[in-house]
Amino acid sequence: MNKPSSAGAPPRRAIDIVNASLKRRYARERRFRLIGLTAVVMGLLFVALLFADIIGKGHTAFQQTYIQLPLTFDAGLIDPKGTRDPETLRSANYNALIRAALRDVYPDVTERRDIRALGSMFSVGAPSQLRDRILANPDLIGTTQEVWLLADDDIDMLIKGYIDRDLPESERRVKDRTVEWVERLEAEGRIEKRFNTIFFTHGTSREPELAGIAGALMGTFYTLVLTLLLSFPIGVGAAVYLEEFAPRNRWTDLIEVNINNLAAVPSVIFGLLGLAVFIGLFGVPRSTPLVASLVLSLMTLPIMIIASRAALKSVPPSIREAALGVGASPLQTQFHHVLPLAMPGMLTGAIIGMAHALGETAPLLMIGMIAFIVDIPSGFTDAATVLPVQIFLWADSPERAFVERTSAAIMVLLAFLILMNLAAVLLRRRFERRW
């Protein structure tokens, strides 16, 4: 049953067919490579764009404007009785000191409105800055010092060039008179940008110049530590049981399917669950690292279990058989031999799960973490917020100066994410064994 061949043509050899299509096949491969490369380059380009945008906007937040003022620590204003009682020193009117100093420097400013404008060049945090200085060193009382005071966020924006001085006055938040004062101060070298330590040591604030990420960082720290403590043992335990001990039947199949499903559940669902069960039923206090870590543990557990099971699967059965062969009990086999070998993979899974939890906001919205909390939390049951939520709140603030601070906070968050992922990679490189 030969096929009717075309008239008189010699039979084609396989090599001819291959040769004829070779060029096309090579071209196809080149095309595929090119498409792949373009995809990767595009991806990198967008990442670079994102980083450039965030760093471009945020790098200025690491500096903060200060204004120098010759200031007399008038004993009559701070401590009229001369008792040096810390309570008196604490409650003294330090704003009056600044006003008095301004009167000396700008004797020509007399109108009430102008005096107000002059005073508002300084942050509302400047008086407490002075108070802390006096409390630390009461001997300053009665002396005159050149002090650097925190500038208001509008002045900070002006100095950093975010406010265009050439615009008409009505369109600027900083009025002509203030610009004049600032330019005079600049000419005298009394304005300086310094490293913004407040950003790293303070909790949040409604005043951009006083706002910091310390509170959110501590909240994140407590939340992640507790999440790790809760989810890692449970995750590893569940993985070991399911992988090594559980009988294969309909129940374990059902559990496995459910774990895989849970890994794909939108994270906000866990927040709703946390609100209903942990807060509603068990009365866990709202807005605390405790409830946040409970919710995030639920969220990371499936990821952790799947990663741990994969790590256990990659340990060759010969190890188990050898251990059992020399008389180890199944439990000893697991804990002395299999688990240590699977640990690097499990830890990698844990770190990636933690990185996931670090960047998570959606479930926390439900459990009262979108809150304005100034005080830095000092425990698992203190009200706290976390870094991504802090970024969310700052991004929503009207003050112009929060734009750079939002970007700066994003930079800190990204740095932590990169560090954690790097740790996961290094861990894998260092300890992973191949068979």
Binding site: E171, G283, G368, I370, A395, P398
Partner: protein, 347 residues
């Protein structure tokens, strides 16, 4: 042995938890995201200048705030509720049913809603009626019958308006700003048409649907809760208009300009004296039963209702709050500091 250990650990954990939950020494405020910037500013100053800890302020939205506030009395319920509208009768009754009987209502000022476009675009002056025609789902035709909104350009509504496609960026329905915009601007606009106004008497539900219905053909873009984002989008697109809170207009006066509504520009003064039509009152509510249990509530109310905070020269004015008129401020402050319980709201 192990079991007893575990049981002991669990009991210990539960007791420490519940004792933690029992004692709360800081004030807990929850509610509107519009009032959030003001409430937090007061909370921070209060924390800095008083001997009490800084109150915790949650941004849940007005409705979410009342839900929590009215869920009962106890340390695990909020002490105060921020609201960008007055409490509704249904919410008040919910409160009463859950034992929150005495509530002090404190009106703190006004918040304007600006319709704005980029500085590089034309300056705009429209009436609420024109705004409604531009944004409503159904509009009356010449015969007074409702037809799907045919307008594509502002100039089709009024020749004096710019010859540009209607494109308005605004907040999504979950936002209090959107509620206020719909109630004040849209409803105010639709009632300037007699045929629609007549509906109010004959068919109230229909009237509401017609007035509150925003077109869904792409002319109104829901741009998210973040007002900063809307400002950025306006700068990028000079032909578009945006709807957001007055404080964002105030902070971004170099980038965007507020549209005049029937000749009235949105400014501090026009909103304060009520001549700018799209403005609303904002409030906070105090649970009187918590006064005395949670320390500092009365002092916080005093701090808020002090002229150095909510007065025309106060720090809240810097944050964009439009203060109440002097006489009203004095009387509200007196009632608030005396924690005078409010009466049942009318609706």
């Amino acid at each position: 042995m192990k079991k007893t250990l575990i049981a002991a650990a669990v009991t210990l954990a539960v007791t420490t938890l519940s004792s933690q939950a029992m004692a709360r020494d800081s004030i807990w405020i929850a509610g509107s995201s519009t009032v959030f910037p003001f409430s937090t500013a007061v909370a921070e100053t209060f924390g800095r200048e008083s001997s009490f800890p800084t109150p915790k302020v949650e941004s849940l939205g007005t409705g979410g705030g009342f839900k929590l506030f009215c869920s009962g009395v106890g340390v695990d319920k909020s002490d105060m509720s921020n609201a960008s509208r007055a409490i509704k009768l249904s919410e008040y009754e919910q409160c009463q049913a859950n034992g929150v009987t005495e509530i002090t209502e404190v009106k703190i000022g006004f918040d304007g809603i600006a319709i704005a476009n980029s500085k590089s675009g034309p300056s705009i002056d429209l009436t609420l009626g024109e705004l409604w025609l531009g944004l409503a789902k159904d509009v009356p035709n010449e015969a007074g019958e409702l037809v799907p909104n045919p307008y594509k350009k502002w100039s089709e509504i009024n020749k004096d308006l710019p010859d540009a496609a209607i494109e308005v960026l605004g907040p999504p329905p979950t936002s209090g700003t959107r509620d206020a915009f719909v109630e004040l601007a849209m409803e105010g606009g639709c009632d300037s048409f007699d045929s629609v106004k007549a509906l109010k008497k004959s068919d109230k539900d229909k009237h509401k649907a017609v007035c509150h219905g925003i077109r869904e053909d792409g002319a109104f873009v829901e741009a998210g809760e973040n007002d900063n984002l809307i400002v950025q989008k306006l700068v990028a697109n000079p032909a578009a208009l945006g709807v957001f809170g007055y404080s964002f207009l105030d902070q971004n006066a170099d980038k965007v300009q507020g549209a005049k509504i029937a000749g009235v520009e949105p400014t501090f003064d026009t909103i304060a004296d009520g001549s700018y039509p799209i403005s609303r009152s904002i409030y906070f509510y105090v649970k009187n039963a918590h006064v005395g249990t949670i320390p500092g509530i009365q002092e916080y109310v005093a701090e808020f209702t002090n002229d150095k905070a909510w007065g025309p020269d106060g720090y809240l004015a810097d944050k964009g709050l439009i203060p109440l008129p002097d006489a009203m401020r004095a009387s509200v402050a007196a009632d608030a500091q005396a924690l005078k319980p409010m009466d049942k709201p009318a609706k």
